[in-house]
Amino acid sequence: MPRFYRIIIKSLLPAALSLSIAGCGIRETNVERGNREQILYIGNGSEPEGLDPHIVTGVTEHNIISALFEGLVSEDPIDLHPVPGMAKYWEVFEEGKRYIFHLREEAVWSNGDAVTAHDFVYSYERILSPALAAEYAYMLYAMENARAFNAREITDFSAVGAKALDDKKLEIRLERSIPYFLELQSHYSWWPVHPPTIEKFGGMTERGTHWTRPENIVSNGPFTLTDWMINQRIKVRKNPRYWDAEKVKLNGINFLPIDSRDTEERAFRVGYLHLTQTIPLHRVDYYRNERPDSSRFDTYLGTYCYLFNVNSPPLDDIRVRKALSLSLNREEITQYVTRAGQQPAYHFTPPDTGGYNARARIEYDSEKARKLLAQAGYPDGEGFPELELLYNTSESHRTSAEAIQQMWKKTLNIEIKLLNQEWKVFLNSMHSKNYQIGRFGWIGDYNDPNTFLDLWVTDGGNNRTGWSNPEYDKLISLASKTYAKEQRFNHFQDAEKILLEELPVMPIYFYVRSLLIHPSVRGWHPNILDRHPYKHVYLDGE
């Protein structure tokens, strides 16, 4: 061996060994430190688009904003039913068309200012101002004249159904009664912002100002923002002025924006994180079998499906759409392709959405599928034109699409071409109905069947199928005018039956939220909206 190598081996090996011994066991991991200091470390998926509750639109953002702000009502940590938040109690009048919220005397902003009814009215005016261009302004359209104000049809905000009766009394009038109005209050678009802070940084309708920076922000939630390095970390710490601060056990939360699932999983393995956003598919079996105490697979309020462009032959024929759906073995897809505990979907609205369970069902029946296709004029797939299945570029969408392509080939003997497009191109194709069969996923905005079923009304903004059914439109409209729960749900049942009868959309499976969770995390209850009010979460390192 040349001397050169010997020198290297002699000098480097002991150094490496000593370093490895020194490195082991001495460094405290984030989880250990967090458990000691009651600081929760969360992998937050990606960098939030922002922290202004009236501007942002995503779940990533919700995870952070819900630590910083609080609305009129809050959520029960177990089943998410509305519990008092900024409002101590409320009264309901006129069959749910008018609410009066009584704000807590002790509710204050993080700078000590009292939270008043005027702050709420100011906040509603802000998010509804056309000049702010808030995407989620439509979440407030239930309020009287809110849509008209947002669409510039009226300019006087006093005509909108929000009024401060005094400092602590807020009246909200609705266009029509909405059974899930209190649940809507847990959406951040309804939450208040601190008017003097907004005015200090550019004013009410200025978008994208610096008011959400740690040095400027004033908030009213259980935590305050203390540190924000873009793409690196967001730290929130306990807000001692929060009205219910006694109950908040965590001293803080560190949100780490980790895009890569594999990186996140590695981080969890070495104790860098308490909680992850997801589990990489290739690690699902391992965690399910070997680490059941550290993994969760909870049903999530969302449906994965394929849309049919009903204006594109042969998909204009109900029999063809039905044949395609009938020949789909959904059990096989969830068991062998998606694998993370997704539920096969035989109806569109996820089970137990706000207490609603669809009675109508679609089925799996290859024999019937072949018969229907023959009736439509394509016996054994003969003469069936090649169809294009469009999805956005992603490994998981591809594997599902390939499995479905095979199923259709095997059962119906038809050819499907797979086509993937980059996200924004895909959106463009879907929005302009430039597709035949397209992937679609829908996560409910709130826990009520309406968020799923009003998608498919004629010319609905998200109805990209071209499908239209007057009877269906009527039922959805009827449901929106009905206050009695049972009657309302009956309208939804009838509507869902029509939807599954005509199948402009083919449900495949219901989403699941899979995540890694360190056993020391307590108070993180599974629920369909995947919401976990942080004030009930704590760490138990024992």
């Binding site: 688009e49 639109t57 261009a133 302004a137 998200n462």
Partner: protein, 305 residues
Amino acid sequence: MFNFICRRVIHAIPVILIIATVTFFLIRLAPGDPLSDEKAVPPEIRVNLEAHYGFDNPLWLQYLHYMGNLFQGDLGPSFKYIGWTVNELIGQSFLVSLELGLLALIIAVLLGTISGTIAAVNKNSSLDYLPMSIAMAGICMPTFVMGPLLVLFFGLYLGWFNPLGWEQWSDRVLPAFTLGIYYAAYIARLTRSGMLEILSSDYIRTARAKGLPEWRVVLVHGIKTGLLPVVAFLGPASAGLISGSFVVETIFQVPGLGRFFVMAAFNRDYTMVLGTVLFYATLIILLNLIVDIIQVIINPRLKYE
């Protein structure tokens, strides 16, 4: 030299303007826009958004508006990260990329030139074959394989380093190596071929004939000219290194510029795409200028032209 620099800077201005114009229209031609999302917003809200961002103006007016701001050094607000300007985002993340890139560059140059020189001096011996085989493997091994391997061994198995993050000094080691090793391998091969050519040239034979010790021949006379191809390579290499790497930043969760550069295009974040492209272009022009100056300094046969 001053004239040379002035001339190059003046030449650079139209280049930047052309790049800005072409990028502006190219990104607008791409299907989709920064405002589109899976959930469609009601038309009245779409109108508000378009009015807010000036998308309701004709494209030429938007172009003039952008160029007007550009001349004042304002790259505009990001569409994706609301509340952050492109200047802020690039400023913050470039410092990270610069740090990571310089560390990687040091690793690359040290490892590359030393092993390349050793290989050239010991031509066709095991001291040549071994480093060169490793270098070949280094060139072939993509960063998305090298990164996770390093993490697996040093992060998960030995536990010396965090597998991700950019919080403490030790967090720099793994990403810098992942990024640097590829360039080190390339530099090693360039050094070896450059040195081999020089070591067989006449003036080196003269130096040896004069009885100079071998280390002086190699390290004083040989290396100066032998490294010229490396210096030429360093221009684009440093631009590549300090402007950030999407893969390395994703693997190690480094808050650098590389991810912005790639994700901006996916998000159709128009201002961010333009900002990063212009920044990158300026960086390349600047680094090439520096390399040209260095080349004239170490190679007396070249002059400022």
